[in-house]
Assembly symmetry: D2
Homo-oligomer: 337 residues x 4
């Protein structure tokens, strides 16, 4: 960490600051430019807040050199993490497709979709029982009943299930869920992250709609710091000034996260696009950029879907997409197993 | 709501769509341009999701004409809402200053800060007991003990208190809190909003760091739809590409929210700026643009603050700022009472 | 175009407005909702400014239904445009790689890079003679001399050249240039676009760093409206809040532009990333998402480059990248010829 | 400037790098942390490009400590610059209002608007003869004839004029213009900036719609480096994800620019808002935040304006706004003279 002192900072205060920093266990490297004096902090700066330092009168600015996350940091764990979901691996060359409807609506719907996406080659089943909706007047999900229907569909089709949690109060309901998803709006719901850190099951952590990669990794760190290192990151589009599409898929996040962290990275082209015709090109781009998996919305009747129908594929569309996905995954040197 | 049909949409499907829309209770107004056919929906569209419509094969796009919020909408409630906080009014010309430290740290700190800001003219006391921190390794607040210290300081200085809630599981702990704050990261924690809608006390709802005004008002609508219409909106800076400051204060939000809604609007210049020297000019700008209140961080020793010291004023600085605030509030035709 | 009237708009004024709109040649379709009255304009609205309408007292808002561009619009020209650059085609399945250094520096450098990228399979040679640099103290390019060196290197290696123009005053200097590039910062330099519209050679139009796809297409329209329909669009990353990379490559722009326009689309992964290690994954993603070409920076000695060395590949790196590009282009069903 | 080396960087390469940096005239300060080795560069780094350094194999990252601008930098010129426009001062407590129509349309219009805004107290007259319009089909301004009408209206009302230049080819036409405006879209038209640096008249430099304050100051530096130090900065709203208004006025830019530079700062609330009702609150906020001037659109018949009518005030509205502006300028301690 680099501390830049103000021009003409009071010398006694500078001496005091240095003493305090040394007491905190840092060694200091000082350097004086023509107009600027800087102090380099050597030691573990992950517990030091830049803002606390900026509050000090004689400090002009502070620049962090080392990433503030540790357990999620590739520098500390050079090898790719592989997460095993009931026998299906993700990471380090293992690729997974998670498919299913936005919302669980009925037993028939879940069974039909599960059966079809399994046939097409998806290994994991998704479906929302608790739905974050912008409007209080929109359908909010079937809650407990939805969870039951999803679990049943997963069981009878022999597919592990992935579903979203919205509140710490619901954690017990998710006992039999195979992968718990944290939605974009809850990426910085820190109380929830802490509780998920106490569990022993994979967490699919979606990037918030305007969160940086550093913040995403710090949220992963919350879960990992609690003891649960099974975190899968998910890029699902960010908010920009462009509104030709619902979100802007940040494809650059994939190679950059690959460099920064050892955790597996999944892409959700359905939410990123918000429109059916973009799902295929974005899915192909994600594979080409190095993603470890895809999350794709499939509905047996998207025109009647209770949420986000605009981006859902029909089982037929998904089936022909899966042919292309399998080809591309193989072409780019990964395997679905 | 306007539905734009695809060029060459199948005529039978168009007829089916119209029948379905009529069954939902809408009257339809059709209009055919040179290249485009559109259908206007007349009726209450607040329960219709644009995305559901976009999922339909023959629909090119959908444009909403009416705002999707009702209870928060000025069109439905033309008069400014005034909220009474233990005798202190906010809204419709009544202006309030909420002051106090980012985090509650100790009894001495809270008492000292409360005493000083009260002397300077602040009516409401803030302080964080549960702190949302980006890093799991940062100080997370004193929790229950912090709430107790804040309540005590409020009581002995005769100031209502404002403090942030982070989890539905904590609602009972907030029983004696006068105003419950929802932080920016929880603006779309819908489970929390629903629970707060069942309470009978004012909620200070902060705008999320990349949320639109429409989304902010929809989150207010969540609380109001539950029965609690005491919502105070808070602009605290948004995330943009500019990183000369922590956030970009969206001053335009004040006149626009004033037009869209009847709810009171507070500005938090401390969090928007993230730097002490910007608090005064941003506070002045907020008053000039028509805000109903300010939320300002004050710490008796900002250089030792456990969080966000960089933006905290000392009690002396706050005292001289309050002189200017009082002058400006009066100059712009409001009153602090 | 849809005009939404204010609640309680004066009836006489509404009648006047309607008369005026009819005189402009539009037919009107009116529709009255519970709280809102709207007027639909049928006719050619490309010359009508939404802002002019919004200025009118009784108008609440205006929504455009049809895109404001015509010549660039796929609805008007359903077939993909193919542009022929000295015998090398781009568009409609024809894929091109443009390679070369950021800046032209010397005869040796240009010849060496041209020879190497040609050997690896690039058909078009790039190089900057006029360089837009944020700082007046940075190297600004070799200007006329740089153009000469680039032309020479192109000629002796039998490669058409692509180079950036920065000022209308330089147009004559570009007489022998095969493809003129408009940089991101000049995307809305309308005087320049108008002059390029009078030429009869391909223009590579880069998207501005915070411009929408609609604005990009309107800038293409400027060139096309002048008579020059040989426009190649280039996505090179947009500015967002994320600063882990220089720009955020907007991969979603490719399928969306494909839908909106018939013009060829090129991607510049070097500028988007700003970092060498990201060029390959972003290039692969661009091909997978359907791009018609790539623009890649190659320098024989990136560590000594006079500009943007951080993103330049060495000829060796480019050679091994071209092997992958060729494979991916073929896999995704296009051809380099 | 701080250079962060890669972990395990080759020692010989590090030695070479240090030698090269010393040859460039820098003294070096080295510091070795647990995982990181950094080199501090002491000397004038304004000519060193971060990207050139990042290209070097053994360098992980580079952080700039000193601002890259000099002439615009308050550290080099602590006192506020005052610019004299034909006897009207701006900066250091002197406040100016620039008013007039978006476009010059006719002699009658210009004379009427000039007469009225002068009567209300505006000292400077604006009007566009060359108009940057997103669409090639929109009115592009009266060009030379418009300039003549503007000059005439300025002369007969004894008001200096401010008008926008769009092309280096037009510079001679602007010989009698008192203040030349560079529009947001041309903020990084570096060829234009260089030419304006050779003139001896004030330049009003508008911030680009997605440019940082650093970039704005670097563009000012382009003009100043050429010898023309009469630069007035103008904040006119930036592009964000929020689209409730045309642009988001960046009010925080005012105090931050005040800290970074000695140049005067003007705010354009008309373009920032894009809507008439927001002009007053944003103008008040700009004064309160410390701006040195305002630029406001006034049209004698906004409903018939050829451009941007939606944000233009009538002379009557402007007259009552000027009463408030005068009051607020005085209240906040500045004077209009």
């Amino acid at each position: 960490m680099i501390i830049i002192l103000k021009q003409n900072a009071d010398k006694n205060k500078v001496e005091n600051l240095k003493e305090n920093l040394k007491e905190l266990g840092f060694s200091l490297h000082e350097s004086r430019g023509e107009n600027t004096e800087i102090i380099g902090l050597v030691g573990d700066t992950s517990k030091v807040s830049e803002n606390d330092l900026r509050a000090i009168d004689i400090i002009e600015n502070v620049r962090r050199i080392q990433e503030p996350y540790k357990k999620a940091n590739r520098k500390m764990h050079p090898k790719d993490t592989v997460i095993d979901i009931c026998g299906h691996k993700i990471g380090a060359g293992h690729f997974q497709v998670i498919a299913g409807p936005c919302s669980v609506e009925s037993e028939e719907q879940m069974n039909e979709v599960a059966r079809r996406v399994k046939l097409s080659g998806a290994m994991l089943l998704r479906g929302g029982a608790f739905k974050p909706r912008t409007s209080p007047y929109s359908f909010q999900g079937l809650h407990n009943k939805g969870l039951d229907l999803l679990l049943k569909a997963g069981k009878s089709n022999n597919m592990p299930i992935v579903t979203e949690i919205m509140d710490t109060a619901h954690i017990e309901l998710f006992e039999n869920v195979d992968v718990i998803q944290v939605g974009a709006r809850n990426m910085q719901n820190f109380e929830l992250l802490k509780k998920l850190g106490k569990l022993n099951k994979p967490i699919l952590l979606k990037r918030g709609l305007a969160n940086t990669l550093d913040e995403l990794l710090m949220s992963a760190e919350y879960i990992m710091a609690g003891g649960n290192e099974n975190v899968i990151l998910c890029e699902r589009g960010i908010r920009t000034y462009e509104n030709a599409y619902r979100n802007t898929l940040d494809i650059s996040a994939i190679p950059m996260l690959r460099k920064l962290t050892h955790l597996p990275i999944v892409v959700d082209p359905s939410h990123a696009a918000g429109m059916r015709f973009m799902v295929e090109p974005l899915a192909m781009a994600a594979i080409a950029a190095g993603a470890d998996g895809l999350m794709i919305e499939v509905h047996n009747n998207p025109e009647k879907a209770l949420c986000d129908g605009a981006q859902s594929l029909t089982p037929e569309m998904f089936d022909s997409l899966m042919v292309k996905i399998k080809g591309a995954v193989e072409f780019f040197g990964k395997k679905i197993d």
